[in-house]
Symmetry: C2
Subunit: 366 residues, 2 copies
């Protein structure tokens, strides 16, 4: 199926680019619901510079305020050695291949733990502001992606609108999830796509988006990758044969006290293995046709990220060493022709692999 679809993908991608601008549309103010619907219909992103300027969050959210409001509350924390939550890493395929030439891809999820919000915030800041003393610390990212702003961060929810008016009216629905994201420049979200229409608002710091349209599916080298999870290293040294079920796959990560444990039972996750920022690694014959859109969201900027667009997201911090954002996920309409065709272009069999994470809300299409 994959091979089949990739034939002819060449023309699909070049046709698409010949018919669409190479830059992201910038709007100077909120679109009307109808104007927004035109963008949804075209499945094309736009950015509204300073579109969230009037949000209370823009005035209020700084480290001190967040700590005060979230005082005494425990939150979920995604912890990784390298800031690589939900990403593919390439490992030497076997101990007998010491040169590491024969790489094997693993999809690794973060270690999920809980901690007082203030502790997590301080760890995020400390890693950013004092890198010298935190070189071996793991990276923390508050990013549960499970409607957390209406749940664990509900005390902050009054500082943002309950929905984005133009999107609510156009799409005729309330957001399925509203997410709070707090991290630092050590975290990067790997290239993936979601079954959501996404309105993303930067509050503190900057986010750097790399965006690829759904027609570029053949560029991203999606593969079924073995799923694993970062896990604290057991206190006693274990080996593969110790019977604990813990498999230490990457000795280089030991300083972080997190090891990679392959999920049991084994599971393979379809995930992009090509990264537009390192285009010579793992390309497909189509990757060179990719024309990534790059856009940086500054404080107050609002991005419409259409459903099924691949996105990779990295971050820069405010002076306080934090990067904080909020986003609204609206359900994509699976009816009509777009979703079916995008799935077909991707070489998939009808979307059965749609995954949910953490809770029912996550519909990440890897």
């Amino acid at each position: 199926m994959r091979r089949i679809v990739r034939n002819g993908g060449n023309h699909l991608i070049t046709t698409y680019h010949s018919l669409n601008p190479p830059t992201i549309t910038e709007l100077s103010e909120d679109p009307s619901p109808l104007e927004f619907m035109r963008h949804v219909s075209l499945n094309r992103p736009f950015i509204i510079r300073n579109g969230a300027r009037d949000w209370k969050a823009l005035q209020r959210w700084n480290a001190n305020y967040l700590c005060t409001v979230m005082e005494g509350q425990t939150v979920n924390v995604a912890t990784t050695p390298l800031g690589n939550a939900d990403s593919v890493i390439h490992l030497p395929s076997s101990p007998s291949s010491p040169r590491g030439k024969d790489e094997k891809a693993i999809f690794v999820k973060p270690h999920e733990t809980t901690s007082p919000f203030t502790t997590a915030l301080q760890q995020i800041q400390a890693q950013e502001l004092h890198p010298e003393t935190h070189s071996s610390s793991p990276t923390h990212y508050l990013q549960t992606q499970n409607d957390n702003l209406r749940n664990e961060y509900t005390s902050l929810f009054t500082d943002v609108p309950q929905s984005i008016p133009f999107a609510r009216i156009a799409l005729n629905q309330d957001p399925d999830a509203i997410n709070f994201w707090l991290g630092n420049s050590s975290s990067t979200t790997a290239l993936h796509k979601d079954n959501y229409e996404n309105i993303y608002v930067q509050v503190t710091g900057k986010k750097h988006f790399v965006l690829l349209p759904p027609v570029e599916a053949a560029c991203v080298n999606e593969k079924a990758v073995l799923a694993a999870t970062y896990t604290p290293r057991p206190t006693t040294t274990t080996s593969d044969s110790s019977g604990t079920g813990v498999t230490t796959l990457d000795p280089d990560l030991r300083t972080t006290h997190l090891v990679i444990r392959v999920d049991d039972p084994n599971q393979y996750i379809p995930f992009a293995t090509w990264d537009p920022d390192t285009p010579s690694h793992n390309p497909t014959p189509y990757s060179h046709l990719s024309r990534p859109l790059r856009v940086t969201l500054n404080e107050g900027d609002m991005l419409y990220l259409p459903a099924l667009w691949y996105h990779k997201v990295s971050q820069s911090c405010s002076d306080e060493g934090i990067c904080c954002a909020v986003n609204y996920w609206y359900d994509v309409d699976f009816a009509g022709g777009f979703w079916s065709m995008a799935n077909f272009v991707r070489g998939r069999e009808g979307g059965t692999e749609r995954r949910r994470r953490n809770d029912k809300r996550r519909k990440m299409e890897r």
Copy 2:
């Protein structure tokens, strides 16, 4: 390319149908521009029963009124032996194959002539109302499809709106063409698709639409078919070797005085060769997956026929022996992902084959 795309098309088509209703949406009143845009975005048709009830044309248009208003005017007439303008016919491939088993497809265009409007109208009525005396008459169809309602039928244009308000506002454009259609039940428009968002309004008689979504491209058995035109039979009998350039291909059509002349220079037109009404002829391995939507427009009904949908159209007459309709073509937006993907699904290389007929307005995608 074709073969490649058809693999996997199975899943595309069944996925599409699992996500979309098997019937056409019926609206009880005009949609708002935003509601209309949602349908455009989904590329799904709807019908508004009696949506044109207030149009002057609905009250006024009958044979007598049309003749009065069009008095003295000459119009273009599409003439065919069997009511088959712009359609594929299958011919015995060679004289040495008398059983006719080895068929060859030809795309045949109507003989285009001009005549006083009243004469054409009377011929159309006479064929419908007195079939016994018109069994060997050719079929006439007033259907220039070149914005004729703002040109040769401009005296009738005041009886219809200049644009469809919800479509004009949603699509942010005026119609590229407004067409007047006048024929009888002998004419059928063969399955094809257009690069237009189409608002079609029935004024007199009924139209019967068979509709297939763009994802069913693999069902319609599109082939490059040799183009030809119906031409009056020369007064002297000619043969293929007479040097006149006239090739008489189908002896059965002689009674109509029209013969098929292959276009010079030869041209091949991509056209659907499968007809959902005769599904056992020329099927592809995907044709059985087709789920045609069938809808009859009665007087006053308005249909939204989304861009790139395959449609076959037949007609029933009013008591006066005429079938009359008006439609508005709005340019499709080639940007975004839909058009590129639909073209890819169809197995086409980027739409270069988009054809225009009669004048610049026709963008029929065969």
